[in-house]
Symmetry: C2
Subunit: 119 residues, 2 copies
C-alpha cells in the first residue's frame, strides 16, 4: 500500500488541476492585473485580517472600525472582478472543507463529535 | 482524470490504515477500557476545552483555573496509558498537519504566505 504522502500529493495535484482552482486563479490574476482593483482587494483583506485578529485576542472593536469595514465590503461587492474572485474563493473553500471532513473522518469516529458522549 | 473526492477518499483510507492511526486507536481504547483512566482523560479534555473557549472569547482566566489545569496536566502525564495516548495524538497530528500543508500548497502559492508581499 502506498504512503499517506503519495495520496496527499495526488490529491494536491487533483485540486490544482480542478476547475474550481483554475477559475479562482484566473479571477485572482484578473484582480491583481489592475492597480485599482488590486489595491481595493488588498485593503479589504487587510481590514478583515485586522478585525479577525482583534476578535481572536478579545480586543474591543470600535464603532469607527465596524463602519470602515462595512464600507470596504460594500465597495468590493460592487466591483465585478472582486466579487467574482470572492465567489470563486467561496466555491473552492467548500471543496476544501468537504475534503477536510472526509480525511478527518477516522478521527471524528474515534473521538466522537464534540459533546456527543454527554447526550 | 478522477474526481477530487475520489482522491480524498483514497487518502482517508490510507490515513485510517496507517500505523499512526491504528496506534492512536489502540492507545485511545486502552485508556477508555479502564474507568479510572477514562475519567482522568475526560477531565483533562474538559479542562483544556473550557480554557480554550475562554481564551478564544477573550474571557479572563482565574488563578484558580490555571492551577487546576496545571494539576490535571501533571496527573495525566504521570499516567502511562494517558501519556502514551497523548504521544500518539501528537504523532498523528504531525501527519495531519503535513497532509494539510501539502494539499493547500496551490492556495499558498497563489496568495503567498501571510505578510510575504509586504517584505
Ligand atoms: Ca463523559
Ligand atoms: Ca501590498
Amino acid at each position: 500500500m502506498a504512503n499517506i504522502y503519495d495520496y496527499a500529493y495526488d490529491l494536491e495535484k487533483a485540486l490544482r488541476n480542478s476547475e474550481e482552482f483554475t477559475a479562482l486563479k484566473d479571477a485572482y490574476e484578473k484582480v491583481m492585473s489592475d492597480e485599482s482593483s488590486k489595491q481595493m482587494f488588498e485593503d479589504f483583506r487587510q481590514t478583515q485580517m485586522t478585525l479577525q485578529q482583534k476578535q481572536m485576542q478579545g480586543e474591543e472593536i470600535s464603532e469607527e472600525e465596524v463602519e470602515k469595514a462595512q464600507s470596504v465590503v460594500q465597495l468590493v461587492q460592487q466591483h465585478p472582478d472582486i466579487s467574482k474572485l470572492m465567489e470563486e474563493e467561496q466555491r473552492l473553500n467548500t471543496v476544501i472543507n468537504d475534503v477536510s471532513q472526509i480525511i478527518t473522518k477516522p478521527l471524528e469516529e474515534l473521538y466522537g463529535t464534540p459533546g456527543q458522549e454527554e447526550q
